[in-house]
Symmetry: C2
Subunit: 389 residues, 2 copies
């Protein structure tokens, strides 16, 4: 790993042969709605439909396939709060190799459970990823198990690169390819493959906005790797970032329009194209890198995205404190065909005058126009209405 | 439509040729988790990834392709609160034919908006589907537009039957095929195709439980059609039904494990297999007929499904009414690594003694075991805890 040239085209072609019949050749879908919104043909490479729900098995399968007999018998070990752990567990099982995966204690259920299902030993240790990493290294030294790095590894990068070879065949018309960047293994592999077979292509990497926790937890590493960083410097045309808000909207659009469940990190490429940050012209491919989002998180994301789109309306109003007033308000809301999600009705609070009560309604709406019409109707009937969201 | 024999194999093969390059040949996915749960190989035919998000374009495209030049110029009209309307709109646009779609006023946004996007005139009339149907008939008589029936039509049935031909090639190992039944067009078409090419196959139809509103709104018609009913009588091995609860669980599993968004009607086949109602042995194919579920509905379904699976816990407890008690409780909950979704804290109510307050917590949990551990811990520390959900 001293050079920054990374795996050669032949390495990636060899990886592809090893993945044959093990990993899926994932489909590419066109999407009319998203193409309209971005003003260019937008194609989705659905690695969320890959086995284990992410591209990561490509690298893991290729890595394990290149171990010696002795190394195979000693097993493999990984540290991962997510997709890489599942991928190593799955790839090891397929190859008949023992795997141990270390994760922080708070790793989401959607990722812990499958790792166990795939037959790996899952060890929940410490509060941070660094704790898990330390434990995995120690495990490797103690047992002789091979540590499978999520991205700083030629065989792993070559495995991820097989996506590039598939794309070159599936979407020969593509002029821009947009790839999520976390540690940089996925983008390095795909870009190396594509630079070799379609040198004229525009290739853009996308990171999640870097401050604080992000919905794109799958790519929330502090930096790209040293090796992958060197590769990316030489093969990417641009490296951009998107906000959590943009990512949430992309997740909801993919869910609603393309019927695909995509995790935060898996949606950054679409977010970049929707916000017109990816540049270039002509048909663009967005890599949907994975779909492993915890359903409880997905609910929050959907609520957030739907509220941004005017599909939820939260309003506060005042009622005279006498029987029937709440019914009267709710009847008006029903007449305007808004659907009540929740009602919070109370009488106390600094701002609520005596003889009045305060009501907070969360409503499911058709769109922003429907919200505006309802607010106007309520105000014209004398309600003091404050829009909270 | 006097016979109950339905379209012949040649009709379905002709339909397939007409759909070539227009409809997608949708993929079939294996699913490890669902195969384990059902104890047999379970394969998913992903018609939710079909253009417009459901199988319905197959029938609509085939119907419109067989119109005369004069009929094409007069346009088409349909009544549909859902997928059929979108499909007719889309198929008409692809064929350069004018379409009008009548729907009840409360048709979900997820279905109204795309119909308009596809360039059809969308008319929202009346409260029920029957109102929309009457308006569509009248429109046809007034303008000469051809009424496209959602299932009582040989060309429509032949179009849906193309799924059967694809399946015979994609999953030759299948021994059972499970198909959602609403009006019966989908099941008639697929079963006729499969009976012709794989006569030994077990073919099962699945309806949504018949009382009251159902999450499977796409198949919530009162009866299968007269014509399709006759076909189904002769080609199905069994016709069963599933409950909304079973459907919700299937939706959540497909979302979480297969990364596929499926609507209620689209999940009934999986629900039937999970609840061991479909019968037969060996590899089974479930037809995921569509993915057009309103995101606000999907949120409710997910909450319901996750609560059933112990991933949400709602508990009520009492606190001494003095500063710091709520913090103490929340600290305990955090220490047990449960994630707070909502807190409802109040002092009034018939059952709340003076000097105590009542708190209701909604918590995101790992699983049912995690719920049990938390409840036990709280009780051992002296909290009176009532589990509400």
């Amino acid at each position: 790993m001293a050079t920054t040239t990374g795996p050669r085209l032949e390495d990636i072609q060899e990886a592809r042969a090893r993945l044959e019949g093990v990993a899926r050749t994932t489909p590419v879908y066109g999407t009319e709605t998203l193409s309209e919104r971005t003003g260019r043909e937008l194609l989705l490479k659905a690695e969320n439909l890959q086995r284990t729900g992410s591209f990561k098995i490509r690298g893991a399968v290729n890595k394990i396939a290149t171990l010696s007999g002795k190394e195979r018998r000693a097993g493999v070990v990984a540290a991962s709060a997510g997709n890489h752990g599942q991928a190593v567990a799955w790839a090891a099982r397929e190859a008949g190799v023992k795997a141990t995966v270390y994760m922080p204690q708070d790793a989401p259920m959607a990722k812990v459970e499958p790792t166990k299902t795939y037959g790996a030993r899952a060890e929940l240790v410490g509060a941070t990823f660094e704790d898990a990493l330390t434990a995995a290294f120690e495990h490797g030294e103690r047992t002789g198990a091979t540590f499978v790095h999520p991205y700083e590894d030629e065989q792993v990068i070559a495995g991820q690169g097989t996506i590039g070879l598939e794309l070159a065949e599936q979407v020969p018309q593509a002029e821009t390819v947009v790839i999520p960047v976390g540690g940089g293994g996925l983008a390095s592999g795909i870009a190396l493959a594509l630079r070799a077979v379609k040198p004229e292509l525009r290739i853009v990497g996308v990171q999640a906005g870097l401050q604080g926790p992000t919905i794109a937890d799958g790519i929330a590493v502090k930096h790209v790797g040293e090796h992958t960083g060197g590769i990316l410097d030489s093969v990417l045309d641009d490296l951009i970032s998107v906000s959590d808000d943009e990512i949430c909207q992309a997740i909801v659009l993919l869910l609603e329009r393309s019927k695909l469940v995509v995790e935060g990190a898996g949606a950054v490429a679409v977010a970049a194209l929707l916000s017109d940050k990816a540049g270039g012209e002509g048909p663009a491919v967005a890599i949907l890198s994975g779909g492993n989002i915890d359903p409880t998180v997905l609910i929050s994301v959907m609520r957030h995205g739907l509220t941004s789109a005017g599909r939820y309306l939260v309003v506060r109003s005042r009622l005279h404190d006498r029987p029937g007033e709440l019914i009267k308000l709710l009847s008006l809301v029903a007449r305007e065909r808004a659907n009540v999600v929740s009602v919070d009705h109370h009488r106390e609070g600094m701002d609520v005058p005596v003889y009045e009560s305060e009501v907070e309604l969360t409503l499911a709406m058709r769109d922003e126009h429907h919200c505006a019409v309802l607010l106007e109707t309520l105000r014209s009937l004398g309600y003091q209405v404050e829009r909270l969201r």
